[in-house]
């Protein structure tokens, strides 16, 4: 998980755009890049507005989005397996911040509340959960009930609920994995690389006069 903020990333791009010498009167300003970040991140993570019905009556705050994280690595963890959350989801009832965890075929792993796995082991029908694999969220990791790496699963896809990216301030750590920062920077840089700085030279004096009138 990265701790980069919009401001930090924007500074890098501004430095590159300015050829190493940043200037306050650059044609591309920080707020332009920040807005571009929001658009790029929303498109990269297939962001969707988060809307669910909760029978338990809790109110889900507005302005939440689900972000799609692809190919999150899974490693063996004793007789279980675990994955590191690529970003810290917001805290919701029933750990709903981790909205979905799926394999590459979009088949869901079943979420259970922390400690429920032990309760299930007493149920002779459900202890194997009809063949399904469950997971629990422990801090910033997800622990699967079985070692799914033995089944050939080396990565999973995750849908995490985070705030709308525009609600993160310029200095808040962004919910993006470190491995994707570079791609975001490159795409933002490419977006602004074609903007040429103002030279100050007026090529057509008469038309400039006309505009001034």
């Amino acid at each position: 998980m990265a701790n980069s903020s919009k401001y930090l990333l924007a500074e890098q791009i501004q430095t590159r755009l300015a050829g190493g010498f940043r200037d306050a009167n650059q044609p591309v300003q920080t707020e332009d890049i920040v807005k571009a970040f929001e658009q790029i991140i929303n498109s990269m993570f297939k962001s969707e507005y988060y809307n669910v019905t909760l029978p338990s009556g809790e109110t889900i705050p507005d302005n939440l989005n689900t972000f799609f994280y692809e190919n999150v690595a899974v490693v063996s963890y004793g007789d279980k397996a675990k994955s590191l959350l690529p970003a810290m989801p917001i805290s919701l009832p029933r750990n709903m911040g981790v909205y979905r965890v799926t394999d590459s075929n979009d088949k869901d792993y079943i979420p259970v509340q922390s400690g429920q796995g032990a309760l299930l082991s007493a149920d002779k029908l459900l202890n194997e959960l009809l063949g399904n694999v469950t997971y629990e969220v422990r801090n910033n990791t997800i622990v699967f009930s079985k070692d799914i790496t033995l089944l050939g699963v080396t990565s999973v896809n995750m849908y995490l609920v985070v705030m709308d990216i525009s609600l993160y301030s310029d200095t808040d750590p962004l919910p993006i994995p470190a491995s994707m920062e570079e791609e975001i920077i490159e795409r933002a840089f490419a977006k602004f690389a074609t903007v040429t700085p103002e030279t100050g030279v007026v090529n057509n004096y008469s038309s400039a006069i006309d505009k001034a009138k």
């Binding site: 669910v52 019905t53 029978p55 979905r100 079943i110 979420p111 299930l120 029908l125 459900l126 009809l130």
Partner: protein, 262 residues
């Protein structure tokens, strides 16, 4: 659709309610509870299994989902010869100090040691003949063998749930028995093969339980949900009842016999 799985029933319910998968586990637990109840009374899941007999103790292990027996029998060609339940078999098996099975004499003949002791019944009879009817309480032969029974019946069994075994009479030598039993619906087979008639009943039960275990619903809403479940269960019972005019007629016809003409 000949059968439906609990997985399908629960996911279908979540879809209808618009709930996320975080509710899957809770609803699955409710669904299995409901399935268990339905299996006892309405669905009547009858399983048949061939059980190997442990020749050392002449008993077979009961299946995990066993609830009650319907028939215990022995295979004879295409048919099953039923064994007769009894309640006089000894539930105790002989174990040595290491809790291993120690062979014991399963014959009811008395060895010389025992017959030399005071192990007699009513003060006169060897205990192995306690079932006889030809002696009175004082050990006196009452003479005349009226009412002589069928003798020793070896085609008997007794289910010992505490041992999770069905015990066969010691003199019956078979390698397998056929057990037809009522399942509790908690085997993986049963859970993956739920009668589609029960889908709506199970889903109504889930909805009721979700409200029952949630403080946000009032008593009225809970009662409505409960009544809906009961209504669905009545429909299930009606669907499962396979009575028809033809069937009733056939039973009457089959049991109509010519009687002695006076």
């Amino acid at each position: 659709m000949t059968t439906a799985s609990l997985d399908f029933i629960v996911k279908n319910e979540l879809l209808k309610k618009g709930y996320p998968i975080q509710y899957y586990m809770q609803c699955l637990v409710y669904a299995t509870d409901c399935l268990r109840e339905l299996t006892f009374d309405d669905l009547r899941v009858i399983n048949t299994k061939i059980l190997p007999i442990d020749q050392a103790i002449n008993a077979a292990q009961l299946p995990d989902d066993y609830q009650d027996y319907i028939t215990v029998g022995v295979m004879v060609g295409q048919r099953i010869k039923p064994l007769t339940p009894t309640n006089t078999l000894n539930p105790l098996t002989s174990l040595d100090l290491n809790n291993n099975y120690a062979g014991q004499d399963w014959s009811d003949t008395i060895d010389t040691n025992e017959s030399g002791q005071a192990q007699i019944y009513y003060g006169a009879l060897p205990y192995a003949q306690w079932f006889t009817t030809h002696y009175n309480d004082f050990g006196e032969n009452i003479g005349r063998f009226f009412g002589l029974g069928a003798g020793y019946q070896e085609d008997t069994f007794q289910v010992f749930k505490e041992r999770n075994q069905v015990q066969i009479d010691q003199k019956l030598y078979v390698e397998h028995i056929v057990l037809q039993y009522v399942s509790d619906g908690q085997s993986t087979d049963a859970a993956t093969q739920v009668n589609p008639y029960a889908i709506k009943t199970i889903q109504a039960f889930i909805e009721w339980q979700l409200k029952q275990h949630n403080r946000n619903y009032g008593q009225g809403e809970r009662e409505i949900a409960k009544n809906e479940y009961i209504r669905e269960r009545k429909i299930l019972r009606a669907r499962m009842a396979d009575w028809s005019i033809e069937r009733i007629k056939r039973i009457i016809q089959k049991n109509t016999k010519a009687s002695i003409k006076s």
